[in-house]
Amino acid sequence: MTTPPDVLVSPASSGDADSSESTSGESLWRGAFKRLRRSPMAIIGAAIMVVFVAVALLAPVLAPYEPASTQWTNLSTPVFVQGSNSEHLLGIDRWGSDMLTQLLFGARQSLIIGVVSTLIGLIAGAGLGTLAGGFGGWVDSLVMRFVDILLSIPSLLLAISIAAAMGKSSFALMVAIGAAQVPIFARLLRSSMLGQNRSDYVVAAESLGLRRRTIILGHVLPNSLGPTIVQATLNLATAIIEVAALSFLGLGNDDPAVAEWGRMIVSGQDRFLVAPWLAFYPGVCIAITALGFTLLGESMREALDPKQRR
């Protein structure tokens, strides 16, 4: 079976066929991108994201010191009390490592775990959602009952349970946080696919005699992805916060050589009275990064909303 002619079924613009053709004739995605470029929220969000990703990738180049290298400059007084100085821009942490270096490498850890866990949630959730929304019937009931069970446990608790079951490692964190996202993606994709199921282009594809599987994977799925991509961006923010939360609860990677923002807060917490910045810097890093992804996700949601088009 070959793909249908594009004239008949144009997946890009058929999201809401009647309004899009009459207004501008440009595709939903292109229009959305245009609106995104004009939104200050999106620009700030994207800027934060770019800086974060650049820092995470370039951490070895940017960092003034080796990660987790300890410099015991003075053993009689705790080094971390000194705060910032000319050699260490943000001071030294409790273990004698350069704070700035640790923060830069922490970004790397957050990015890797955040992205991988969201991908795990996205792939597993989207798979389940496609099964349920695309095939309906008993498959739908079965998948959705399973999703209901997962949803009956609050997501952080679900992540805590899985992380606790898998032991302390970065991999456990990724699986735990990813699994907690599965029900969200499954429900979202299912409902947006159900919404597409009766649209004109599906009827057209059916009347052309395409196989059900081809219609679902080639037409319904691509057209239902918009809200899912938005959700994935927002979930990245949640994932970065949850990584820190699980580390904070002692469920993260406990290898001291791996810098992680959540664990940095924990170790700074005990010295809060003498050196509050030890916990303050990593906390601010988490909040700003999460804010960046949230801003971008929210403005993407607005830009993709057909009601916003003029």
Partner: protein, 334 residues
């Protein structure tokens, strides 16, 4: 309405059944041998065998599941391996502390969130609206435990305005007939115990309530902004109804529907968030108990607590669905 309620409740049954299966097998795949963790490093093989026999860990897995469900049906949720107290008792004992901080958090979120959201929704695009929206975005993205630490640092350690941790001043000796320290203070007529318990709730409540606050603000704002443009609002205004009446009977009543759902959903999530907040403020509640149980692999406690929390969460969602009928007559008809 009754049929709707019954059908909605019937849907809970397969979910809860599935949950017991999931929880049962999840607990079995946890690494670490419970007998070994109970007996410590000097465990002898005989000792391990004895513990396994006593708790039924030596039975085939399907039989263990069957015994588990049978016990559940009889109201027996097992006992903590470490502390030797029944799981149900432990949950009931720890619940008041968690409910208190959750209620404090929710009160803060609702009492501040709905007015702020309403104001922002009526003045979309104004500078105060922009401030409120930015603030709510920040509220969702700041990690709960970090906010808790900041609040503790500023208000307790630096300004000495509020207590740093716990539920009650250590020097205070009071009776606790209910376990709700605020209520106990009132019931025993000990007013200083009441104010002390309230003071201990402020910081945890603020920390835990920030995310629900941000979410309630945004939902209320969006909902109000949509409702004010409805025809019936214009009609009500054209009739010359007082502004307060239009706001209350026409705008708020319609705008509240999605807000109620949100509040219900948040209530369940508060229980998970409480784990973090209780850890920072050393509050002896459900979250901290559960967290300690994870550390020592106390299987029955984990199973029981997650089951109870999921049950409460599902029941709250059921109540939210049912409360629709009270707020929105249209749902009652259909």
């Amino acid at each position: 309405m009754l049929r709707f309620a019954l059908r909605r409740m019937a849907l809970l049954v397969p979910t809860l059944f599935g949950l017991t299966v999931l929880l049962f097998f999840w607990v079995r795949i946890l690494p670490g041998d419970p007998a070994r963790s109970l007996l410590g490093q000097r465990a002898t093989p005989e000792g391990i065998a004895k513990v396994n026999e006593r708790y039924g860990f030596d039975q085939p897995i399907w039989k263990q599941y069957f015994l588990y469900v049978k016990a559940l049906a009889g109201g027996d949720f097992g006992s903590s391996i470490k502390l030797h107290e029944p799981v149900l008792d432990a949950f009931v004992n720890k619940l008041p502390a968690t409910i208190e901080i959750s209620v404090a958090a929710l009160l803060f979120a609702i009492l501040l969130g709905i007015p702020l959201g309403y104001y922002a929704g009526r003045h979309i695009g104004g500078w105060l609206d922009t401030t409120i929206v930015s603030g709510s975005l920040l509220g969702v993205t700041i990690p709960v435990f970090f906010l808790a630490l900041l609040l503790k640092y500023v208000f307790a350690l630096q300004l000495h305005l509020l207590p740093t941790q716990g539920r009650q001043d250590a020097r205070m000796t009071t009776d606790h007939p209910t376990g709700f320290y605020t209520l106990d203070g009132l019931l025993t007529g000990n007013f200083s115990a009441f104010t002390d318990a309230c003071a201990h709730l402020v910081l945890p409540g603020l920390a835990l309530g920030t995310i629900p606050l941000a979410i309630i603000v945004r939902i209320t704002r969006a909902s109000v902004a949509e409702v004010v443009h409805e025809d019936y609002v214009r009609t009500a205004e054209a009739k010359g109804l007082l502004r307060g009446t239009v706001n209350r009977r026409h705008i708020m009543r319609n705008a509240l529907l999605p807000v109620v759902t949100t509040i219900g959903l948040q209530l369940g999530l508060l229980f998970a968030g409480a784990t973090l907040t209780e850890t920072v403020f050393a509050i002896d509640g459900v979250g901290q108990y559960l967290f300690n149980a994870i550390g020592v692999r106390d299987y029955p406690v984990l199973q029981g607590f997650i089951l109870f929390i999921a049950l409460m969460y599902s029941l709250i969602n059921l109540l939210v669905d049912l409360s629709y009928g009270l707020i929105d007559p249209r749902v009652r008809v259909s």
